[in-house]
């Protein structure tokens, strides 16, 4: 039934958008495709699970904990790997290759620590409420997921639009050199961006983990590919594009799975993505931002 599908699409799409937002933010500000973003997403989800099962924290406390943990991971990657590469002025593909390495390490660490099998949150801690609107079956969990995702995205958009830090970030996205000359500590904002983007990725990981109640070390890989699809759809580095692209992809996927085969949905999504790259590499809504020296 269409209404039910649309609700699922909204839930999935908002998490995709949240994930893609951090991804595109890093590309916009640091000019790096961070391919460890999927693994950080996975790490966030395990962090929440660990906090809930080992320390018996309630979910509302585990979520910020997971955000903090994945944020620190992102910060660590920036300080230990991306910063030296920036100092060396490495060609822009080099940091991308290094982040592939980070992804492999995190995934394999998770597998070593928690095993390859699917882990789940204890049923009793999940928000239990559910109700029916018309013929649509709504879980409280879904509402919470959508609310959290949109709240965080709204907050980020608001900061970028209206605050001095947001302006500074947009200045860096256009020209780090100009930003330095304005007295902006560009390096520090690189760190902040890495932290925030990874924290958002971690939260997205927790939300997906809760939605499907299934966590595996490999869960970062498909979402990474979808994140790539989203930011290409929306235009790389384009924040609003990521939001719309995320919702779009979530909807497309849910509808394709509902009305076509579950696998062909992916093929259509990626085929579409491939076409967009060929025809409109700047994304459906975006324009190519040529970065100045």
């Amino acid at each position: 039934m269409l209404e039910q599908q649309l609700l699922n699409a909204l839930t999935l799409g908002s998490v995709y958008a949240l994930f893609a937002l951090g991804f595109t933010l890093v590309f916009g500000v640091l000019a790096v495709i961070n391919l460890s973003h999927g693994a950080v997403f996975m790490a966030g989800s395990y962090a929440a699970l660990f906090l809930v099962t080992r320390f018996e924290l309630p979910l509302w406390a585990a979520l910020p904990g997971a955000a903090l943990f994945s944020g620190l991971l992102g910060l660590l990657v920036d300080v230990l790997i991306l910063k030296p590469l920036r100092a060396r002025n490495a060609p822009h593909l080099i940091p991308m290759i290094a982040t592939i390495g980070v992804g492999i390490i995190l995934t394999s660490a998770a597998q070593g620590l928690f095993g390859a099998e699917i882990r789940r949150f204890p049923e009793e801690i999940l928000p239990a409420g559910e109700f029916t609107v018309g013929e649509v079956h709504v879980r409280a969990l879904e509402i919470a997921i959508v609310a959290i995702a949109f709240a965080l995205m709204g907050l980020l958009l608001w900061v970028l639009r209206g605050s001095q830090t947001g302006r500074a970030l947009r200045a860096i996205a256009e020209s780090p050199k100009a930003a330095w000359l304005l007295g902006i500590n560009v390096e520090r904002l690189f760190h902040v961006t890495s932290f925030v983007a990874a924290a958002l990725g971690g939260v997205a990981g927790v939300l997906i983990g809760l939605d499907f109640n299934a966590i595996t070390p490999q869960m970062g890989q498909p979402i990474l590919h979808k994140g790539i699809a989203v930011i290409i759809l929306g235009g790389m580095g384009d924040i609003r594009g990521a939001l719309i692209g995320g919702l779009f992809l979530g909807t497309a996927e849910v509808l394709a799975k509902g009305y076509l085969s579950s696998q062909m949905g992916d093929a259509i999504a990626f085929g579409l993505l491939f076409l967009i790259l060929l025809l409109r590499p700047s994304g459906l809504f975006g324009r190519v931002l040529e970065r100045k020296a």
């Binding site: 790997i81 940091p95 390495g101 390490i105 699809a229 290409i232 060929l278 590499p281």
Partner: protein, 556 residues
């Protein structure tokens, strides 16, 4: 002998895998060597594997024929998707090839003929050690020949500076497509070899992780030479066997290798083991200065080399050139001067085809240049240097100049592979000519050095020699004396006159009035996008409008 038998029965698969991985690493090395990061090679391998396995299973083709088809199929796909995909650069290309890889994987997952997620089972064991050795040897030999040829030099030039490569007369798009397609072919053959010793294939083996594994091997080994991918793939295939005790943590080693190499060995292991580049063997022989044919037959030269007619150019709302017209006569030295930001370099970019004018016409030796790609214009006989010097920094001086001869070296692929006498002779001639050009500018004794190691003045001279190597009729020099001291300027004047005396026309942009006045036969003055004066140096010198444009108004 028995011990060997035991070893072989245990480890033959591993040894085969090393060979297959070497092929895959070489396939991605090809695209990397012209600066393209393609993540499609795992998918190409998959296409080869499926095509090969299906031909064996369903049609019972002989294995050698299967291998051929397994190479041809992904090459065909690469050829089709290559033209549009390779227009993308940098991360966009990486993303597009990644998306392509997903399309291939998901398609294999869904088609009935490929066996869906179960894959194909019971593929006969047709691959023998000899197949792998022979194909690896053939690939290595071919790539080795390629590397030492005009094609290999073109790849390296494209990797270092695509624009400069175009202006050396290299058809950049075709070279990229060639590397991409050949890489796909090698990956496809590797896929079929692999499928025919593992019994079974499934879509899981050709996903993103596998693309990354292949990339890691090449990055680890380094792309500077052929030994790199071989070493990288050998190490990364054997390492997991030695690290079995790490269990689930094993892949971490791959990740760590990737990061450590990128951080600490940016050119890979093979480069770290090599001697420093300044001692490379490219030391020159003696130039067989058999008075190379004069570059230009002056008699055939029309009186006008370059005619700029009512040319306009705007960038968005900014009008950079407006109704610009002037004529560069043959056989002389012509100067275009004007303050910074007047639009001088834009004129060069229009003439060399890097930009298209918004109006007007540019003629070279009577031929309209509209719509011609930069490399075509270079081949017609128009060469240029850049204000901010764009040499190929990691190539030797000799290689830099030989890149300029790209389109004059016309040996075909078969002659190259066979290392035929004609091919060797052409390379030897090019080498001799390159050394001759280097000695014209006084750099022959440094021919084997890496261009990056040169001083500023020497880099400019190298750029001259490289431009002359395209055998131009006219040489466009963009601020040739920028950053030079008076003594160097005087020396350069003499050099430019000598170039003119050899029959070339020279057209230069310059900011330094003294230099221009002393050197040029005629001068055009550009200010704020318009020609405000044209004439002999004397006429220009006395023109009050020029003085004002140059020094600023007398009374402010």
């Amino acid at each position: 002998m028995e011990a060997f038998g035991d070893f072989w029965s245990t480890y033959s698969t591993l040894v085969y895998s090393v060979g297959v991985h070497m092929l895959l690493a070489l396939s991605i090395w090809l695209t990397l060597s012209c600066g393209l990061l393609s993540l499609a090679n795992a998918a190409f391998m998959g296409i080869g594997a499926y095509v090969g396995a299906l031909l064996t299973l369903n049609l019972g083709w002989p294995f050698e024929l299967v291998l051929l088809a397994a190479g041809a199929a992904p090459a065909l796909v690469a050829l089709v998707i290559g033209a549009p995909v390779l227009r993308l650069s940098g991360v966009y290309l990486a993303m597009a090839t990644l998306a392509f890889g997903e399309v291939v994987r998901v398609t294999a997952l869904n088609l009935e003929i490929t066996g869906g997620p179960e894959g194909l089972n019971g593929i006969p064991l047709a691959t023998s050690g000899w197949h792998i050795v022979a194909i690896l040897a053939l690939t290595l030999y071919g790539l080795h020949r390629l590397r030492r040829s005009r094609v290999g030099r073109a790849f390296e030039a494209i990797k270092e500076d695509e624009v400069a490569a175009r202006l050396m007369g290299i058809d950049v798009d075709r070279h990229k497509l060639f590397a991409f397609t050949l890489g796909a072919m090698i990956a496809g053959v590797a896929g079929a070899l692999n499928a025919h010793f593992t019994f079974f294939i499934s879509p899981r083996e050709y996903g993103f992780e596998n693309a990354v594994d292949i990339l890691t091997m090449t990055v680890l080994g380094g792309t500077g030479n052929l030994a790199g991918p071989l070493m990288g793939s050998a190490i990364l295939t054997l390492l997991p066997e030695l690290l079995r005790f790490l269990h689930d943590y094993r892949p971490m080693v791959n990740g760590a290798v990737l990061i450590l190499v990128v951080l600490f060995l940016p050119k890979g292991i093979s480069a770290a083991l090599r001697r420093p580049p300044s001692q490379r063997e490219d030391t020159p022989g003696t130039a067989s200065t058999a008075a190379a044919q004069a570059a230009v037959e002056a008699a055939e030269e029309p009186a006008t080399v370059l005619a700029i007619q009512q040319v306009g150019k705007h960038f968005g709302g900014l009008q950079v050139l407006e109704d610009v017209s002037f004529i560069v006569p043959a056989g002389g030295i012509y100067g275009l001067i004007g303050p910074n930001g007047a639009g001088k370099t834009t004129v060069f970019n229009l003439a060399t085809g890097l930009l298209a004018p918004n109006g007007g016409r540019i003629e070279f030796a009577g031929r309209d240049l509209a719509g011609l790609a930069p490399h075509r214009i270079t081949r017609l006989g128009l060469a240029r240097t850049f204000q901010n010097i764009r040499i190929f920094g990691e190539m030797s001086l000799l290689e830099n100049v030989m890149v300029g001869m790209h389109h004059h070296l016309d040996y075909g692929p078969l002659a190259l592979l066979a290392n035929s006498r004609a091919c060797r002779a052409a390379e030897a001639r090019a080498r001799a000519r390159a050394l001759e050009l280097l000695s014209w500018v006084g750099l022959a004794h440094k021919a084997g050095m890496e261009a990056d190691e040169l001083s500023y003045g020497d880099q400019r001279k190298l750029e001259f020699a490289r431009a002359l190597a395209t055998e131009p009729r006219i040489l466009l020099l963009d601020e040739p004396v920028a950053g030079m001291n008076p003594a160097e300027k005087t020396a350069l004047m003499a050099e430019i006159r000598a170039i003119r005396d050899r029959g070339y026309s020279v057209f230069l942009i310059e900011h330094d009035m003294r230099f221009v006045m002393g050197l040029c036969d005629r001068i055009a003055v550009l200010n704020f996008g318009r020609i405000i004066a044209e004439g002999t140096p004397e006429e220009i010198r006395d023109n009050p409008e020029v003085i004002e444009a140059y020094l600023g108004r007398e009374e402010a």
